[in-house]
């Protein structure tokens, strides 16, 4: 298992050395034939849904995992993205390529709204404030006839480009998979830059971060709006996927718990972990769909168990392996150079 991880790491490293985007291109090529290995249409649907969940979980990981802001409003932003697309498509007859950016924009505007309480609240208090927002959105949808109320909105048209319509799940996969890959790449790229470091500093110690020049409120807001971008994107993709139907049941607090589980199980603050979490949780949720009550029990238990026994999730375990290796290497280096005295003023310059 460990040699496998080492091998993959070395391979990706070699690709990166040629061009930083090459590993992503290889991933795209590897993922292209996936629908042909499925047994039935339903499995392709599930894979498409997993792609959407990966986008949603990645967005939550940015704001919760990296910037450390405990938000429960993420699914509400996903709902806003989905319903914006649904309304634009069914009431105004707008095409997908208009609905997608407008839905993202709508989610981002509400993302600012969810983010504002984070200026004054943190931890459980912020969770409560954002929970209120999430509940308000869900209830508003349920009682508003224009939004289909409790029966949802159907008949959302599938995406159409230059007269070519994506009529089945196989075709939709070639839209949603590359977008997913692009979204994951973007999150990686941004989080590896100074912005990602600023997010983590805000999470670790806001006072220290501010004293070192990080505008804490600005970066909190950037994190919320970025995560809203992902939620809006996921929502719009979900609405336009067959059967083109959105229902308030898909955007409840229970859905929020499911997305949270993906991030927690995969590893908070670990994008790869979040992706693994999204895949596992979506598949398990699908298998246990008939036993809804027990599914919730299972998810709750897994969240508690993960937080107690592996707080950094699956991704954290893999990370730990790399950190340990580097730590051993550093110890070997310094063991020779010095003993007893911290640092070494003598070794500079």
């Amino acid at each position: 298992m460990l040699t496998l991880i080492d091998g993959i790491e070395a391979f990706i490293g070699r690709l990166k050395a040629i061009h930083p985007l090459l590993p992503w291109l290889v991933a795209l090529l590897l993922l292209l034939p996936v629908p042909h290995f499925t047994a039935n249409n339903y499995q392709v649907y599930l894979i498409n849904f997993i792609c959407i969940m990966i986008i949603l979980a990645t967005g939550l990981n940015i704001v919760k995992g990296f910037a450390g802001q405990v938000t429960v409003g993420h699914v509400a932003l996903y709902a806003i993205g989905a319903y914006t697309s649904a309304v634009l498509s069914t009431k105004f007859g707008m095409p997908f390529y208009v609905n997608l950016p407008v839905s993202i924009l709508a989610a981002m505007i509400f993302g600012v709204l969810v983010g504002l309480p984070s200026f004054r609240l943190e931890g459980a208090y912020l969770a409560l404030a954002t929970l209120a927002f999430a509940q308000a959105v869900e209830v508003y949808i349920r009682v508003t006839n224009y939004l289909g109320a409790a029966s949802g909105i159907g008949g959302i048209k599938p995406p159409e480009f230059f007269g070519f319509t994506l009529r089945n799940y196989d075709e939709y996969y070639y839209l949603v998979m590359p977008i997913m890959l692009l979204a994951v790449y973007a999150s990686f790229a941004i989080l590896r830059s100074a912005t990602g470091r600023a997010f983590m500093a805000v999470r670790e110690d806001p006072i220290s971060a501010a004293s070192m020049g990080v505008n804490v409120r600005r970066y909190k807001l950037i994190a919320f709006v970025m995560s809203a971008f992902y939620a809006g994107l996921a929502g719009s993709l979900y609405a336009h996927m067959l059967p083109g139907y959105v229902h308030p049941n898909n955007f409840t607090v229970i859905e929020m718990v499911t997305v949270l589980l993906m991030v927690v199980l995969g590893g908070i603050g670990n994008i790869w972990g979040g992706i693994i979490g999204a895949i596992i949780v979506t598949i398990v949720a699908d298998i246990t769909r008939e036993y809804y009550f027990y599914q919730l029990l299972l998810f709750g238990a897994v969240i508690v168990g993960t937080v107690l026994f592996m707080p950094k999730g699956i991704g954290g375990i893999i990370d730990r392996y790399f950190v340990n290796r580097r730590f051993v290497a550093a110890r070997e280096l310094t063991a020779v150079a010095k003993r007893g005295v911290v640092g070494s003023a003598s070794r500079e310059e």
Partner: protein, 266 residues
Amino acid sequence: MGPMLEVKGLNKSFGGLRAIRDVDFAVREGEIRGLIGPNGSGKSTFFNLLSGVYAVDSGTVVFDGRDLTNSEPHEVAAAGIARTFQLLRMFTEMTVLENVMIGYHNHVKYGALAGVFGFGRVASEEKIIRDEMMEVLAFIGLEDFASIPASELSIGQRRLLALGRAMAMKPKLLLLDEPAAGLSPVNVDNIMLIILRMKEKFNLTVVIVEHILKVVMETCDRISVLDHGVKIAEGVPSEIRDDEAVVEAYLGREMDDEEVKRAISA
């Protein structure tokens, strides 16, 4: 030339407690100033007021000709003031290198979302940042620990990293809140040596809060003394050593027999 940092009539209360009372404080460019006082005398509060962590009740803080009174901490940092914390406040989950990179945050030229294009310009700037920050780590002797989480460091190494983070900010003024607290005597000497080298190399002005009086007496050009939020003395180390008010603040006042009797019966 006027002072680099000039504080006038500073006041701060927490409820009924007047933590800082009418403090005037001026530091010349290139100076090493010691700030001492018994526990609870307001030294850390004073630093928190200077660096914008607390809002002042009244008074002004002028740095380099700019009014910084009640500025946000990140604005104070951008103006060229770096500070360290008594309780360190490391980013423990981040690597040692990432910790110093946060110090460089205000010098990063590319925008917040430019990272999407992580190749090209951003990548080349990141490489320059990385190299420069590795030099900072080499200066404090932690370069071998660059890719290890700060949580794995010893207290002595964390004290060094705190200096490295401040150094990465390229400040003009350095506020050090007990930089040697919790260290063994050997390490205290080592860290003071590094502070002096930093000052020389980057032409810094330094204010040090420290409890180890030997360190302050040996290192500082001038010393200010706080007691119960009031500045009770200021001068060169030899003056401070012999100052009656300072000795009284630290050791208590000598009382004659009459006073002792009264104090016991009261």
